[in-house]
């Protein structure tokens, strides 16, 4: 199964969620700056990465985890992804997770300053702070996604 976490830039919330899913971050405490900067793609993307589905790793159940930046296309993008999966006849092989709801103002302002304005020195501390604030909500989202993936897998095996 493929799991795609998506957010505006595919650089902060989706990448953090994917890292949590893959066990790259300790889910019992908020990550430090060093923890976050070790994650592939965290605050490192550029404009050409918008719309690219980037591979982050494979979890212990064999699910491939990806991240995606979709700009401001919102929930529609989830519909597009699942619609394509349905056209291909494999809707049970894909889970799309919209992380936008968990993006707080610190992440928005910090992310914009760091990635769009290229002022990493100013933006990065703000976006890291925002990520730390949203951390436990992201943990919750990832746990729900992992359960959903297991449930989908078991129901597919049963049928």
């Amino acid at each position: 199964m493929k799991i795609i976490y998506h957010c505006f830039g595919g650089s902060h919330s989706s990448v953090t969620a994917a890292a949590l899913h893959l066990g790259m971050l300790n889910r019992n405490r908020p990550p430090t700056v060093e923890d976050l900067m070790k994650i592939p793609y965290y605050d490192k993307t550029n404009d050409s990465d918008f719309g690219s589905i980037r591979y982050m790793g494979t979890d212990e159940f064999g699910n491939e985890i990806y991240v995606l930046g979709k700009k401001s296309l919102g929930n529609r993008y989830g519909g597009i992804l699942m619609g394509v999966a349905e056209i291909l006849g494999i809707p049970d092989q894909l889970i799309e997770v919209n992380c936008m709801n968990l993006v707080n103002w610190s992440m928005k302002i910090g992310g914009f300053t760091s990635r769009r304005l290229r002022l990493e020195l100013l933006g990065r501390p703000v976006v890291v702070w925002g990520t730390q604030k949203a951390f436990y909500q992201l943990v919750n989202l990832v746990e729900i996604t992992r359960l959903k993936a297991m449930r989908t897998k078991f129901s597919a095996q049963a049928t």
């Binding site: 918008f50 589905i53 995606l68 929930n75 993008y77 597009i80 619609g83 056209i87 494999i90």
Partner: protein, 147 residues
């Protein structure tokens, strides 16, 4: 094979492109097409199934909002990630000169009263672009390779 006609909205110019491709629309009587300006369909984001062509390919129409090329890139990558190829799904973007105005009008027209005013303008814009849409469909027909 599946073919998706992709544009800023999936219920206007791409809908016409899909019908032109299917040979179901020779003249400009598109306002009575099924799914024309169907906002309930558009808002879901799912590709809208139009019909089968003569070779049993499934034809869809899809709106990608402000980011048509980005959406095309994502869909093409997703197809590869899911272990399929362009023999299974092809995305054909349809561009018109006034596509941004069209999308803006679509967004403004979300309220029923406003929509009554906006819809004739959308119809007028599409009428102006009809030849360009037809040309892109003809080019695509000539170039697409079927499985």
């Amino acid at each position: 094979m599946n073919i998706i006609f992709l544009g800023t909205t999936g219920i206007h110019h791409t809908l016409i492109a899909a019908h032109l491709y299917l040979g179901k629309l020779e003249q400009e009587g598109y306002a009575n097409l099924k799914f024309w300006d169907d906002r309930n369909k558009e808002v879901l984001g799912y590709p809208i199934f139009i019909d089968y062509d003569k070779k049993r390919n499934k034809i869809y129409s899809l709106g990608g909002g402000w980011e048509v090329l980005m959406t095309q890139k994502t869909i093409e990558q997703l197809v590869k990630i899911m272990d399929f190829s362009e023999q299974d799904l092809v995305v054909k973007p349809i561009f018109i000169k006034r596509e941004r105005i069209l999308l803006l009008l679509y967004k403004i027209g979300r309220f029923k009263i406003v929509n009554r005013l906006v819809l004739p303008v959308i119809n007028y814009l599409i009428k102006k672009e009809f030849t360009a849409i037809k040309q892109q469909v003809e080019e695509f027909k000539g170039g697409v390779r079927f499985a």
